[in-house]
């Protein structure tokens, strides 16, 4: 039996077809099928507890990422709220503080957004020099349809006062020991524009692992703003303070020298995602003059991705890929590229995306000591035969 590649995230070419091929090679009859459970449905677990697990790239090939293989990122062991007893408190700079049950929320006008959720630290392991933290590579990202109520509608119901500028957000997960609480805030202008309090994910009740019964959805912004197990929102005049606002989730205002830590005054909060593509499928080998298909996804903090290109000469020349027809504001676009090799030998393909504001994915990501927002060109190596 041919030895299958180790099932890590590097196994980009590991497909159902290969699994069949591996099985068929050793079988005594021609008809073989997979065992009952689909062992392709899997997560790459980085941490046993709290759970941190990324999605293998070969499962990030559909417009909507299925809930069960969607990446999981917990700061500490969460206390899952009991959905029947759960309440959402709205207080702070409002005329009428509210306490709402899940049924109350479900009775309000609904809204949906299909958009990307990416951990701020996705790709941290690819930064050089190496930085501490969960060593995410490619798959702390997914695209889902989030359904719930508009933050705007909820604040209108509560009577938002004029002076409020920041929405303070609180979840039910409590830190252990003396770890600072994960209290956050997000600019009111942003969440009033398109923020949701979601209780459904891809048409199912929001799973507990993903913040159920309800979480904040901030389209186009990094996951640190998407408070899970949300139980209180509070408009205030000033931003939230504390470790996870003042130290964590900060990014350099301007690039510096890799490996040289930025000072606090040189940093600004992580907000929008950067334009980024990734390669999810590529053949291990190809032939000169014969087209081979490369696929991937691309997204940005800007509402749409307008172009994805592929290069086989290290970025000297680029050819446009075909964009998938599905797109929504801040959702990813799937793309495919029919690559016809021009010469034999090991060939490295790169991809880059351009967003609707004209931002182009850079060759190198901006190094920062927390390893946030990695978005360098992805690459894949294929063996081209004559």
């Amino acid at each position: 039996m041919p030895e299958p590649p180790e099932p890590t995230i590097e196994s980009r070419g590991w497909t159902r077809r290969r699994l069949f091929a591996a099985a068929a090679a050793a079988a005594t009859t021609a008809v073989v099928r997979l065992p009952g459970p689909d062992v392709r449905r899997r997560l790459i677990q980085m941490n046993g507890y709290p759970i941190d697990a990324e999605t293998p790239l070969d499962l990030l090939t559909s417009y909507l990422t299925p809930n069960d293989v969607f990446f999981v990122r917990h700061h500490w062991n969460p206390t899952f709220p009991d959905a029947a007893a759960w309440r959402l408190t709205v207080d702070g700079e409002v005329e009428r503080p509210l306490s709402l049950s899940l049924a109350d929320l479900r009775a309000m006008p609904r809204a949906s957004a299909t958009c990307v959720l990416q951990c701020a630290g996705n790709g941290r392991a690819l930064h050089r020099p190496i930085v501490p933290g969960v060593q995410w590579k490619y798959g702390a990202v997914g695209n889902a349809k989030w359904t719930g109520v508009r933050v705007r509608d909820l604040l209108e119901k509560a009577g938002l006062k004029a002076g409020a500028r920041h929405l303070h957000t609180f979840g039910t997960d409590k830190p252990p020991e003396k770890v600072p609480p994960f209290h956050r805030s997000v600019e009111l202008d942003k969440v009033r524009e398109d923020g949701l309090i979601a209780f459904e994910m891809n048409g199912e009740p929001l799973p507990q692992l993903h913040g159920g019964p309800a979480r904040l959805v901030v389209p186009g912004w990094a996951g640190d703003h998407w408070m899970k197990w949300l139980d209180r929102i509070s408009p205030q005049t000033a931003p939230q303070t504390g470790f996870y606002m003042d130290v964590g989730y900060r990014y350099p205002k301007t690039p510096g020298e890799p490996g040289v830590a930025f000072k606090p005054e040189e940093m600004t909060p992580v907000t929008e995602l950067f334009v980024k593509s990734n390669i999810t499928e590529a053949p291990a080998g190809a032939r000169v003059g014969t087209a081979a298909t490369i696929r991937g996804f691309a997204f940005s903090g800007a509402p749409d991705v307008t172009k994805v290109e592929v290069s086989d000469d290290g970025g000297a020349t680029w050819s446009p890929a075909a964009l998938g027809k599905d797109h929504d504001p801040h959702a990813w676009r799937l793309w495919s590229f029919a690559y016809t090799p021009r010469k034999a030998g090991k060939t490295t393909l790169h991809a880059r995306a351009t967003d609707s504001r004209g931002a182009v994915q850079p060759r190198d990501a901006v190094w920062n000591q927390s390893g946030y927002l990695y978005n360098a060109w992805p690459s894949v190596e294929i063996e081209v035969s004559a």
Binding site: A22, T29, V39, N67, V179
Partner: protein, 121 residues
């Protein structure tokens, strides 16, 4: 090696797939460990008990095992975690940092993430 355990299970699963024929009965249980199963431990040695006591109340050893940090970075991490409540006796701190640098220094290539079964739907 413990970190590879998930992969080994997976290879067994593939071997199982190879002999499974069309029309076979009953679905088999998913052979992968359920996501959230802790599999990795700190390496053996006199500092293991210190690391267990300092770290495991809040997170599994995996969080440490995947790092590749310099002595300076480890010193900063251990100091931060002690401030957050990790129990690190003052006379053990230098030894713990040295143990982390030895096993999880910049050239640490021993960590393998666990291939895990997704949560039930």
């Amino acid at each position: 090696m413990k970190g590879n355990w998930g992969s080994s299970v997976f290879l067994l699963a593939l071997a199982g797939a190879a002999v499974r024929l069309s029309g076979s009965p009953a679905p088999e249980p998913n052979p992968l460990p359920l996501v959230g199963t802790q599999l990795g431990e700190f390496p053996a040695g006199p500092m293991k008990v210190v690391a267990d006591q300092a770290c495991l109340r809040c997170h599994s050893a995996d969080m440490v095992r995947q790092q590749r940090l310099t002595e300076k970075q480890w010193t900063a991490e251990v100091t931060k975690m002690a401030g957050w409540g990790a129990v690190v006796p003052e006379d053990q701190k230098a030894g713990l940092i040295a143990y982390f640098v030895e096993h999880f220094g910049p050239d640490n290539d021993s960590f393998r993430p666990v291939v895990a079964q997704p949560p039930p739907r």
